[in-house]
C-alpha cells in the first residue's frame, strides 16, 4: 500500500492526495501569474515542470487512486456515501433474511448458518480488497461481515436463552478492530473502538452491581478509555495507516468530552463517585472547561482539525448546558436568553480571534 516518496517519507494515500492538490493549486496559480504578467517561465522550464507533474500524477493515480480534478473529488464523496448506504442496507438485509428463515431451520442448521455468514463475508472482503485499490466494496462487505457477526453472537444467545453478557461487546469490538486493521478501514475502526468502550462501561457497571442496561448511564469508565484512545493515536501501528491517528483522536476526544456534559450537570445521577453531588459536579465543571479549552489549544498547535472541531462543539454545548444548569431556575427568562445571546456573540469573537491568529501564523 505504501511506497517511499521523493522526500524519503513513507507515501500514503493521504499524502499522495495532498501532493496532487498541491500540483493542481500550483498549476492554477502559475496560470494566474502568467496571465497577470507577473511571472513567465521559459518554455523549456515550463515543459520540464509540466512533464514532471504529468509523470508524477500518472504514477500517483496508478498507485493510490487519487482524485485529480474537482469532479473526481465529488465523485469520490458520492462513492463514500453510497458505500455507507450500501453497508447499512446490506447489513439490514442479512439480519432480516435470518429473521425470515430461522424459524424454518432446526437448531443445528441455525447455528451453522449463523457461524457461516460472517466467515463467508470475511472471505468476500478479502477477495474484494485484493481486486480493488479503493476498498469501497471491501468496506461495504467488511461492515456487513461485522453486522453478521453481531447477529451471530446475539442470535446464538437467543437460541440458547442466554443471559446478556458484556463479553459480546468485547467480541464485536475485537472483530471490528481486526478487520479494520487488516484492510485499513476507518469507519470500522471507529465502531470497534466504540464497542470496546461500551464493553468497559458494562464491566464497570457489572462490578458495581448495576444493571447492564443502565451501564451507559454511568459513563465515567469512558473518560480514561477516551484518554487511552487519544494516546493510542501515537502508536506506530496507527501512524503508518492513513486516517487511523485522526480516527483514534476523534473517538478519543468524543469519549473524553461528551460524558462531561452529563457528569457535570447531573453528577448525582450519572456518577459512580461517592462524594457529595456538589463536589462531583464542580469537579466535572472544572474538567469540562479545562479539557475543552485544552482540546482547542492543543488541536490548533498540533494541526489536529478533528480535535479542534470536537472540542469547539463540546465547549459551546457545555457552556450552554452549564448556563441552563446555573441560571434557568432563578433568572427571568428574558435575561437568561439575553445572556445566552451575549455568550454566543462572545464565542464568535473568541473563535474569530483564534482564526485570525491562525491566519497570521
Amino acid at each position: 500500500m505504501t511506497e517511499p516518496a521523493a522526500d524519503g517519507a513513507e507515501l500514503t494515500k493521504t499524502r499522495a492526495q495532498q501532493r496532487v492538490d498541491q500540483i493542481e493549486a500550483f498549476a492554477r496559480e502559475l496560470g494566474e501569474l502568467e496571465r497577470g504578467g507577473v511571472l513567465r517561465l521559459e518554455p523549456a522550464d515550463r515543459a520540464r515542470v509540466d512533464a514532471c507533474h504529468a509523470d508524477l500524477l500518472e504514477r500517483l493515480a496508478g498507485s493510490f487512486d487519487v482524485d485529480r480534478t474537482e469532479r473526481q473529488r465529488r465523485m469520490s464523496l458520492g462513492m463514500r456515501i453510497a458505500s455507507l448506504v450500501g453497508a447499512v442496507t446490506l447489513s439490514a438485509a442479512v439480519v432480516l433474511f435470518f429473521n425470515r428463515v430461522w424459524g424454518l431451520l432446526a437448531t443445528p442448521a441455525q447455528l451453522a448458518v449463523l457461524a457461516a455468514a460472517p466467515l463467508a463475508l470475511l472471505g468476500a472482503v478479502d477477495v474484494a480488497a485484493r481486486r480493488e485499490k479503493t476498498h469501497y466494496v471491501a468496506s461495504i462487505l467488511a461492515i456487513t461481515a461485522t453486522a453478521a457477526f453481531i447477529l451471530n453472537v446475539s442470535a446464538v444467545g437467543v437460541i440458547f436463552n442466554m443471559r446478556p453478557s458484556p463479553v459480546a461487546f468485547a467480541l464485536w469490538g475485537a472483530f471490528a478492530l481486526v478487520v479494520a486493521y487488516t484492510y485499513g478501514l476507518r469507519l470500522l475502526l471507529a465502531g470497534g473502538i466504540a464497542m470496546s468502550m461500551l464493553f468497559l462501561c458494562m464491566i464497570a457497571s457489572r462490578a458495581a452491581g448495576i444493571d447492564l442496561g443502565a451501564s451507559i448511564a454511568r459513563p465515567e469508565p469512558i473518560l480514561p478509555a477516551g484518554a487511552l484512545a487519544f494516546a493510542a493515536s501515537f502508536l506506530p501501528a496507527n501512524r503508518r495507516r492513513p486516517g487511523f491517528p485522526e480516527t483514534w483522536r476523534l473517538v478519543g476526544s468524543v469519549a473524553l468530552l461528551l460524558p462531561l456534559i452529563f457528569l457535570s450537570t447531573w453528577a448525582g445521577v450519572f456518577s459512580y463517585l461517592p462524594w457529595p453531588e456538589r463536589v462531583t459536579g464542580s469537579l466535572y465543571d472544572a474538567a469540562g472547561f479545562v479539557l475543552g479549552a485544552a482540546g482547542i489549544w492543543f488541536g490548533i498547535r498540533a494541526g489536529w482539525r478533528e480535535v479542534v472541531q470536537v472540542a469547539t462543539g463540546f465547549l459551546v454545548i457545555f457552556v450552554f448546558a452549564k448556563c441552563f444548569d446555573w441560571w434557568w431556575d432563578w433568572m427571568p427568562r428574558y435575561l437568561f436568553f439575553l445572556l445566552l445571546g451575549g455568550l454566543a456573540v462572545a464565542v464568535l469573537v473568541v473563535l474569530g480571534r483564534i482564526r485570525a491568529r491562525q491566519r497570521r501564523v
Partner: protein, 275 residues
C-alpha cells in the same frame, strides 16, 4: 496484519461460537436448577409475524403493573432492608428532601426467586376475591403516579401470571438454600429498581420492584413449534381475539446450572367447557 488478519477474524468467529455452544452445553448438563410447568399465563405467545419466523415466548411474572388505580401502602417483603441487602444505598432518611436521590438510583442486577402458585400468590388471590374486578382498560390517575408506586389492579386469577417474585439476593446459592423447592421456585437473574413511595398522608417508604428477569424470552425449539403455531394470531390483522379466559397450552421450562432456561415439553390444554 494483511496476511494473518483475515485468519485472526475467522478464528474469533469460530472460537466465540464454540465457546457459546460449550457454555450452553454446560448449562444443560447435570441436575437442573429448577423445573417448572408453566402455562400460557406465564409464557406469553407472540403474534405471528411474516418478517420473523422465530417463536419466542415471553416469561411473564406477576409484578406491580402501572394499570391500577390503587396506590401501594406497604413495601411488602421487598422492603428497605432487603434493598440494602442487595446493594442499594438506602442510608439516607426516607423523606421528601431525599426523594430525588432515591428516584435516581440506577436499577441493579441481582437474583430473584420466582415461585409458581405459592403462598404469596394464594394470599393475593384471596385478596383479589374480596376486591371488585377492574375494567379491562383504564388510565392511571396522575395523583397516583405522583404519590408513588401504582399498585396493580386487583388480581385476575384467569388472566394474570401465577409466577410471583418472593425473594431476592445477590447470591443465587443462598437464595436457593432459602427456597429449596426446585419444582415450584426458579432462581433467575433479574433487574430490580428502587421506588420511593410518597404515600400521601402517610410516611413515605422505600420499596423494591423486580422490573425484568433475564432472559425474559425463551425460544421454542422447532419440535414444539407446530403445537403452538396454530394458537398464534396474525399481527396487524386488525382484529383481536377476545382475551383468553384460560390457558391453551402448558410448557415445561427447565433452568440449568447457569440459570438459563429451555423448553423441554409443550402440550395443548383442553378448554374447561370441553372437558
Amino acid at each position: 496484519m494483511r496476511r494473518y488478519g483475515p485468519w485472526l477474524a475467522a478464528a474469533l468467529v469460530v472460537v466465540s461460537n464454540l465457546a457459546a455452544w460449550r457454555v450452553a452445553a454446560l448449562n444443560r448438563r447435570g441436575e437442573p436448577e429448577a423445573v417448572l410447568v408453566l402455562t400460557e399465563r406465564e409464557l406469553q405467545l407472540p403474534e405471528k409475524q411474516a418478517e420473523n419466523t422465530a417463536l419466542i415466548l415471553r416469561l411473564v411474572f406477576d409484578r406491580w403493573r402501572e394499570r391500577g388505580d390503587t396506590v401501594v401502602r406497604e413495601a411488602g417483603w421487598f422492603d428497605r432492608a432487603k434493598l440494602e441487602s442487595i446493594g442499594f444505598d438506602a442510608s439516607r432518611p426516607v423523606t421528601a428532601e431525599n426523594a430525588d436521590y432515591y428516584r435516581t438510583r440506577p436499577p441493579r442486577a441481582t437474583y430473584v426467586a420466582l415461585e409458581y402458585e405459592g403462598a404469596l400468590w394464594l394470599k393475593d388471590l384471596e385478596q383479589a376475591r374480596r376486591e371488585p374486578q377492574p375494567p379491562f382498560s383504564f388510565t392511571v390517575p396522575e395523583s397516583a403516579v405522583q404519590n408513588g408506586v401504582v399498585r396493580l389492579a386487583p388480581r385476575d386469577p384467569f388472566l394474570d401470571s401465577h409466577l410471583t417474585p418472593i425473594d431476592v439476593d445477590n447470591d443465587p446459592a443462598a437464595l436457593r438454600a432459602r427456597h429449596p423447592d426446585t419444582r415450584a421456585v426458579a432462581v433467575v437473574e433479574a433487574t430490580v429498581a428502587l421506588r420511593y413511595v410518597g404515600n400521601a398522608g402517610q410516611p413515605p417508604f422505600l420499596a423494591g420492584r423486580v422490573t425484568s428477569v433475564l432472559p425474559a424470552a425463551i425460544s421454542v425449539p422447532r419440535e414444539w413449534r407446530g403445537v403452538l403455531e396454530g394458537l398464534q394470531t396474525d399481527a396487524g390483522s386488525g382484529t383481536r381475539p377476545p382475551p383468553q379466559r384460560e390457558p391453551r397450552f402448558r410448557a415445561t421450562v427447565t433452568w440449568g446450572r447457569r440459570l438459563e432456561p429451555w423448553i423441554t415439553n409443550v402440550e395443548l390444554l383442553q378448554p374447561e367447557s370441553a372437558r
